[in-house]
């Protein structure tokens, strides 16, 4: 077994320990403060949705800054970088829709997000293919 494999095995155990520890801490909190689970679980889900939306906002703003920065002065191939950035924007929107929809109990939002998440690779591939056939192949 190489060093990388042993490190990965330890990481797996760390993840298991983290999950067990978090569950034990949650159980201890609930039993200590006598929290009603029917009140606590939707509140925890909504707080998680808040965190996901804030993280998604950071990703969206960073991707927008990237779209502003990579102008035409970077050359012809900058199209592929822009395509990647647009894919990140699409992925962020789809993941926020899926996770927030699941967490707040809106299945319609999550299902549309899933459908869109499945289409995103085809969109990026079709755009890159069209650009390649329009510019690179014509110029050769």
């Amino acid at each position: 077994m190489s060093l990388l494999d042993s490190l990965l095995a330890k990481l797996e155990w760390l993840v298991v320990l983290y999950i067990v520890g978090a569950a034990a801490a949650l159980y201890a909190l609930i039993s200590m403060y006598r929290v009603d689970l029917y009140v606590a679980l939707p509140a925890i889900a909504k707080v998680t949705a808040i965190i996901i939306m804030l993280f998604g906002s950071v990703f969206l703003v960073c991707a927008s800054v990237g779209l502003w920065r990579f102008g035409d002065e970077w050359g012809r191939h900058i199209f592929y970088a822009r395509n990647h950035i647009c894919g990140i924007v699409d992925d962020t929107c789809a993941l926020v829709m899926i996770l927030v929809g699941v967490l707040i109990g809106r299945i319609d939002l999550a299902s549309i997000g899933f459908f869109f998440f499945a289409i995103i690779p085809f969109v990026g591939n079709a755009l890159a293919n069209a650009y390649y056939h329009n510019t690179e192949k014509v110029s050769k």
């Binding site: 906002s57 703003v61 395509n83 939002l109 995103i120 969109v123 650009y131």
Partner: protein, 94 residues
Amino acid sequence: MIELIDPMFELAGYVFLVACSIAAVSGLRLAVKGETVTSLMGIGTVTTVTAAGLFLTEILFHIEFMRDTAVALLLLGALATVVFARILRGGVYR
């Protein structure tokens, strides 16, 4: 503490809407400045973030028709981007 969660959710929704607006402006700039395929890509981005923002607005303010608009924008926008990219490439069977 529990009663703070709903206003915080609303605030996070507003922050996400602002981020969506910034991404939409970037996509519009891409659509206006670039060539044909780049414009198509920018319009696809604008469609996506607009639909996500509309869906979030429906969740925040309970306006029903925004959900239908968002669904139509997401599905038709993505599919139309693929179709127009194929057309720009030079036909379906090439």
